[in-house]
């Protein structure tokens, strides 16, 4: 739902739409509650335990937050994604700029990257475990692998899309190569870079959750996998909610940052 929609809805067809929206959410909660509390308990003990009611999830969420368990795992996950993102920003953006700038480098590295790119980051999990174990280094490696290519490709495309007459004008006015790069090319490419950051974050987040679910000793993905072993389905759903909320907050945050840093490029913020 785009921004213009919401504005139009709140204006012209105000309260009817608002009621429907609330009804939609209530319907979801109602179906969920009915399944968990009325239908599944009729089907035996195992079925009853396999889907917690919304209230059970809320209770478990409060419990996990109060005991500090949630915080420990969430911090671990956040620390991994922050480390990996810092590494990716510091490597993919410079390499993308260089590859966009120099045809020789692009021609040389393109076939290598095209060979590596189709391998999904998730498929690196077992090999990275052999090499690095199941700790932080392996998780950071998987996120880096996932987030690197989208940011690299977007940066490269952004640099190549810079209007050549801007570069020509700057050099006619006596700008040095460094000035052209930092004052003309990078600002012009920045919307692509920001868009690349959002895509990179989304893929990195998905890969991290996958890596933590597959094999870990801490982190939110590990937490829900461990709870599954204890058949604690309320805990599993509570963990899923936290993972969803965190991912959503980061996406909104990156979108805000993009709009704030590159307000002239509004069409990109709508994507």
């Amino acid at each position: 739902m785009s921004r213009a929609d919401t504005a139009a809805n709140s204006g012209t067809r105000g309260s009817g739409e608002g009621l429907l929206r609330v009804a939609g959410v209530l319907l979801l909660l109602g179906v969920w509650w009915a399944l968990a509390s009325l239908v599944l308990p009729q089907m035996g003990e195992v079925a009853a335990k396999s889907l917690p009611s919304p209230w059970a999830v809320a209770e478990r969420l409060v419990e996990l937050a109060a005991s500090g368990e949630l915080l420990v795992h969430a911090l671990k996950t956040l620390q991994r994604i922050a480390t990996a993102f810092a590494i990716v920003l510091l490597t993919a953006i410079p390499l993308g700029v260089l590859m966009g700038w120099s045809e020789t480098l692009r021609f040389a590295l393109d076939p290598l990257l095209e060979l590596l790119r189709p391998i999904p980051p998730i498929a690196w999990i077992p090999l990275s475990i052999l090499w690095l174990g199941v700790g932080d280094a392996q998780k950071v490696y998987i996120i880096c692998f996932a987030a690197f290519f989208p940011l690299l490709v977007n940066t490269m495309v952004g640099v190549r899309h810079v209007n050549p007459s801007l570069v020509a004008a700057a050099s006619t006015l006596g700008a040095s190569r460094g000035q052209i790069l930092f004052r003309v090319v990078l600002p012009a490419a920045s919307p692509f870079v920001f868009a690349g950051m959002r895509i990179a974050f989304g893929i990195g987040w998905m890969a991290l959750v996958g890596a933590e679910v597959a094999a870990a000793l801490a982190g939110l993905g590990y937490m829900i996998m461990a709870m599954r072993q204890g058949f604690d389905s309320a805990g599993v759903v509570a963990g899923m909610v936290v993972i969803g909320v965190l991912g959503f907050c980061f996406d909104v945050g990156l979108r805000r940052l993009h709009r704030w840093l590159a307000p002239w490029h509004l069409e990109f913020t709508q994507v």
């Binding site: 809805n9 396999s50 290598l112 060979l115 189709p118 498929a123 090999l127 389905s233 909320v245 991912g247």
Partner: protein, 269 residues
């Protein structure tokens, strides 16, 4: 003109030459690291942890000959096709409804937006509780992963239908059904096909994740199995098979898109 053509050939030649040189250098570097550096660091474990390119090729020939590779690839592919097939028959009708009816959009939008941010792979533990280690669990992860890209693309396709086309049809007395069949669906088709391509690509990633944790067949299970045997040559070979198959699926759908909808830019994106 001849000069320009010459410059162009020269550029293509340079591209091929540089690409070939860097690929050969990368292969030599791999071989060098595997034969000189790793054995010095890890002694007799070297071959198990970091194979030479030759070892991977040899394993590949072996796995193809025994039929294992084909068998696991087919197991993964079948699950992805079933999962994406289920997405096609649910997400497209839902997307058409959400896109074309404003009251249904208001009703269904918020619940969908609540579910969407949950990372699809975070569903793995819950689906394991529900379905155990089974085909159904793997297919359900593919379904959850592939659902939203196709749904969102279908909605975008319906909402981007040119207003003048629907108005013209309405003026000529088209009913709601006819409008959907003759105007909305054909106009939204390029978006829908792009959505199917995205869904298939993501489904192919999701199946690997699902099989790593909950399967005994499939390429993901083959990798995980090879890890417990500490056979990095088999792991790398399976990774290559996953990458190749993903690329084949993507290129196949692009070709289909160009063929079916030559007017749409989607095939070239």
């Amino acid at each position: 003109m001849a000069g320009r053509g010459g410059a162009r050939t020269h550029r293509v030649g340079r591209r091929l030459l540089l690409g070939a040189v860097s690929l050969i250098l990368a292969l030599l570097a791999w071989q060098g690291v595997a034969t000189f550096l790793i054995p010095r660091l890890y002694g007799s474990y070297a071959g198990a942890l970091f194979p030479t390119p030759g070892a991977v090729l040899g394993t590949g020939a072996e796995l193809v000959a025994t039929g294992e590779l084909i068998q696991h690839t087919w197991a993964s592919l079948r699950r992805v096709l079933v999962g994406v097939g289920l997405v096609v028959i649910t997400a497209i009708p839902l997307g058409l409804a959400v896109g074309s009816s404003s009251w249904f959009r208001a009703l269904a939008g918020p619940p969908l937006e609540l579910i969407r941010p949950i990372s699809p792979l975070a569903w793995i533990p819950l689906t394991l509780i529900w379905f155990g280690v089974s085909d159904l669990q793997n297919v359900s992860i593919v379904f959850i992963t592939a659902f939203f890209p196709l749904l969102l693309n279908t909605i975008a396709g319906v909402r981007n239908v040119e207003r003048s086309l629907t108005n013209a049809a309405l003026t000529l007395g088209a009913e709601r059904r006819q409008l959907l069949r003759y105007i909305v669906l054909p106009a939204a088709l390029p978006y829908i096909l792009t959505g199917i391509r995205l869904s298939l690509g993501l489904g192919w990633v999701a199946i690997v994740a699902a099989e790593l944790v909950g399967a005994v067949t499939g390429l993901g299970a083959l990798i995980e199995d090879s890890r417990s045997l500490v056979r990095s040559d088999r792991i790398l070979l399976s990774m290559a098979a996953i990458g190749l198959m993903g690329a084949v699926l993507d290129q196949g759908l692009r070709a289909a898109q160009r063929r079916l909808l030559p007017w749409s830019p989607g095939g070239r994106l």
